[in-house]
Each structure stands twice: as C-alpha cells, then as structure tokens.
Amino acid sequence: MDFMGITPSVLIASLMVASVPIMLAAIGELVVEKAGVLNLGVEGMMIMGAICGFVTAVGTGSPLLGFLGGAAGGAALSVIFALLTQVFLTNQVATGLALTLFGLGLSSLIGQDYVGIKPPATGAIPFGPLRDIPFFGKVFFSHDWMVYASVAIIALVWAGLKFTRAGLILRAVGEGHDAAHALGYKVIRIRVLAILFGGAMAGLGGAYISLVRVPQWTDGITSGAGWIALAIVVFASWKPWRVLIGSYLFGGITVLQLNLQAAGARIPVEYLSMSPYLMTIIVLVIMSSGKGRASLNAPASLGQNFHASR
C-alpha cells in the first residue's frame, strides 16, 4: 500500500530513527526540570554532543566511543551551567541562552576541520529472520541499537522517578527546595547531578544526529532540535512516557515532510520545512490552554534558585 510513493512501514521505521535525538534530549531535560532547574541550553549541549561525538568517532573509528564522547561533551558544557546557576546563583533563563550561544560558537570552532568527512557507520542490529516478518520486521527489527537504547532510557527514567528513593528525593527537591533542604537533602548537589544527566542525554542525542541521522558535520547541525525537545517536555506535562509519544509525533512530522518533499508534493518546500516548528507552536498552545492543566503539573520550584540562608 503506497500513498504518493510513501510506504507506511518505511515511514514508521524512519520516524523512529528521526525521533531519537529529541527523545534523548527531552528525557534528560525532564529529569533536570523535575529537580526544579530550567536549563534552556539544550540546543547548545546537543550541538556540543554532536561535534564531540563526531570527533571521537572519526578519531577512534568506533561509533560506540563516539556516542560516549558525545555524552561527555554535552555533560562538560552542562558543568558550566551547573556552576553558574547553582554556585553563582545566576538567572537560569539567561544562563541557558548563554550556554546555547557559546555551544553553537564552540562547536563550529572545533568542527571546522571536520566538514565533509564521513563518520564510521553505526550498523543495524542483526535480528536475522525477525527482520523478514512483513511490516513489523521493517518497523521494529531494522534499527541500530541507539533506537532501542533510547526507549530503554525512557523506561529507566520512568521507573527511577516513580519507584526509587533517589527519584523521590529528586522530585522533592524540585517541588519544594526549602522543605527538601530542611529534611537534610543536599539540594545543590542533587540539582548539579540532574543537570549533568541532562547534559549527557542532550549530548547523546546530538551525537546521534551527527553520527547516524545526517551523518556528517555541518555548522548548526541540530537546527532547533534542542528547542523542540524543550517544547516536548511541556507537551509531555513532565511525564516520561509522554516524552516518547511527543517525540514520535515530531519525528513523524519531520519524516513526513521530508518524504513529501521527495515525492514532489504540490505544497512548496518552504512550507513543508517550517511545519515542525509550526507544529511545536500549535502543540504548545493546545497543552498550555485548557485551564493550565500542563502548568499545574510543572515542578513547583521550576526555575527558582536555591540559596541556603541558614
């Protein structure tokens, strides 16, 4: 069954790949926001992850090390954010923006010798005969391991936040930092750890863009994916599994518009390529209207700095 030359199974398979970067970045940011910190530097951390992962993978020839390098790059940039907002008590919105501007500049500085190089390929997992199942084989068993890892990370974050003691403490810090401090939890330390996790996840997502999705290095390669990830956290109303749904939705739109472009649909290319951004706006409007249901679920201390006066 084809519609205008677009096969549904191929479309679904490729939307799963397209949504991996934003899914990883969004689940990282979800943890950060659950701890009460608003880090708007996701775009900067993603692109640092993209270039660090690319450089590592090209240097070592191993995609696995590349992904680790990407996570390290994103986490390294988030250290600056953690230091400024948690120790120097700076405004989180402004610091996040600075992080993005700095990340964009630094990444293109590092990447200037890497334009036009191909990274080592990340192959699909050999599932053998499972791959030959009609439709489902293509949709579920034709991917590289990062696609499965990203879903596993969502499950881990969900379970971690919901069932473990550490998850409870993290949520307590995000809902009321003064009460958490009074109970003896180290608010600053917990938030720094959450920021580092968010940075590593954003970096991992960025590395997936430069190593698998594109796969090469160009300046500004993330093109707003980090900001879409931030919107997805709002869309998901801070619930891990909804991050998965939101990412697939956005991945679906991205893939669909690319397919429509390739299929030569009569809609002009420009309108198609702005559709993911317009969709983000529409989704944000829907989620934030309706008596502010999404904002009710936002962590109570989100965006507020903590200074222990006693």
């Binding site: 120097f88 008590l89 405004n91 919105v93 610091t95 600075a98 931030l230 702005m274």
Partner: protein, 362 residues
Amino acid sequence: MLRLEKRPTPSRFWSWGTPVLAVALTMIAGGMLFALLGKDPFLAIKTIFWDPLFGEFAWYLRGQLLVKAGPLALIAVGLSLGFRAGIWNIGAEGQYIMGAVFGAAVGLAVYPTESRLIFPVMILAGAFGGWVWAMIPAILKTRFNTNEILVSLMLVYVAETILSKAATGFLRNPEGHGFPGSRSFSNYPAAHNPEIFAGTGMHWGVVAAFIAVIFCYVLLQRHIVGFQIKLAGQAPRAARFAGVDPNRLVVLCLGLSGALAGLAGVFEVSGPAGQISIDFSSGYGFTAIIVAFLGRLNPLGILLASLVMALTYVGGEGASTDLGLPKAAIQAFQGMLLFFLLGADLLSNYRIRFTLIGKETR
C-alpha cells in the same frame, strides 16, 4: 571558608563594575582559547580590541563600528524592557528578518518609482513586520498562557524559511539571471538608506538607535509604564496588587521589542546589507541578548555595550583575515562574555564573607 550573604539591595559599585570585570575576564579566557588554537593570544586580543580603534585601518573600521552597533543597540534596547519585566523575547532574530522582508517588499513593490515618501513608508512597514511577528507569541501568551520563549524562538526558524523563499521566490531580482537575492537598494535612491556623513558609518538606523535609547530611558525613568515594568520584574505579586495588568505588559514589551527589531532589519536591508539575500540573517537578534545584559538592561549602558560588542564583530573580522582565526571563535568569545557577566553579578547581589571553619559569625 567562604560564605555568601545576600545584600538587602544590589551594590551600586558592582552593578557598574561587573561589566568591566566581565570584559577583562573574557579577554583572559579568550586569550587562553586562542592560545589553544595555536595563535598568539596577545596579538589576537590586540587585533580584536585595539586595531579597530587605533590601528592602521582605523579610519575605515571606526565607521564599521557604528554600522554594527546601530542594529545591536536598537534590538537590545527593546529586549531589555521585556527582560526587566520577566518577559523573555528570544526571537528578536525572527522579528529582525521579518522587518527586513516587509520593508523590502514595500520598497520593491513600487520599483522604480521615485518619491520621497517611499523610504518612510518602508520604515513603517519594517516596524510593522517586526511587530506582527512579536505579536504572535504575545497573543498566544495572553490568550493561552503559552511559553513566549519557545514560541518566539520557533518563529525564528519560520522567519528564516520565509527569508529564503523571499530571496529565491517572491522578492527575487527579475533581472538577476535566476540568481537568488533581490534587487539592490543602493541602485534605487528613493529606497536607499545611505551614510548620512560619508565615512562615518552613520546611517538612519544609527539615528533611530539613539532616539530609541532616549525614548526607553525616559520611559523607564519618568513614565508610569516604566515603573510598572520594573515592578512586574522585581515583585510580580506586588505588581498585581498594585493593579498592573500583566497581559498589557506582555503585549507592550513584546510589541515594542518586535517593532524595534523590525526597524533594525529594514535599516540593515536598505543600507549596509543592500538587498534581501539568503544569508541576510546575521545573528544580530541573538547577539543583542548579550548586549542587553552587558548594558545591565539600562538604555544608556546598552549604548556602550553595543559599541563593545561591535568591536568584537569588527575586530573578529580583522582577526579572521589577518590571523586566520575562525569566525566561530568570535561567537564562542561572545558567549563566554555572557557567562562571565552573569557569574560576576554574584558580587552585586551577594556579599562574600570569609569565616573560619567551625566559628559562627553572627
């Protein structure tokens, strides 16, 4: 042991001292970055900060300073009003692009008519374009409580697509042999924004920036709206009790900053840039955020800050041609400046006390 103690009011000395400290720290850290890149750090810093003012080609580069500082100051002054009220317009780049597209479209629509009215109408169209683009997040914020940061930013990407459509489609030069880009405004006197005094870089956009700075200064210091803006930023609850309508402030701050960014766009496209082209967007809208903070969200401070930031642009271009320093290094340099600026603010809001471990001072 170090301990932080919150000041009852921000320190006056440090509120003006931090920008200077931040620039100094950025020079040191930037020097280390350049050294890592294998360039002579002292030569690089001298090329960026000294040569545009007093170097061999300073007679030309000083004019370029005003060309870069004009749009930066114009956008940053508008942004600073919103930042003071806690309204974050991050999409000034999009409003700047839309201002340019609207203004250029009006000018090119009547090509080649000669009339003294064309340029003023273009300017109005540019301001309108920026205003319209900023009204989208403003109305979504007031009607649906949508986050203005994300919406205004998403609209930057939409504006960039419209720009490329304009350059390759509806505003393309019909005599341009199919190349992207509009007609050049420098060959169209009625719509051209020339230098007012040759060689100074002073064009109408710079004049507009001065007017905007004075206007915003008076607004903040002498007008009730300015007071409400400051009140809403520092004590939102108190502002609501005092009868400040937050929705009105959102519409006002976003609209004003959008219109100013649109103005910057139309002055740029009809003057220094000269035409609508695919690479017209130059990141002024984002750099203006740094300028607004470097100027401490104060209109007069922003004027100075825009000159400092223009210096890094002009000097950065010099460094990239003379020393082979990549252009991106300047962007990283500017981001670093914002880090130091924000970090150094600790000094104006907190007192640092040294206490011996185990000995409580009270």
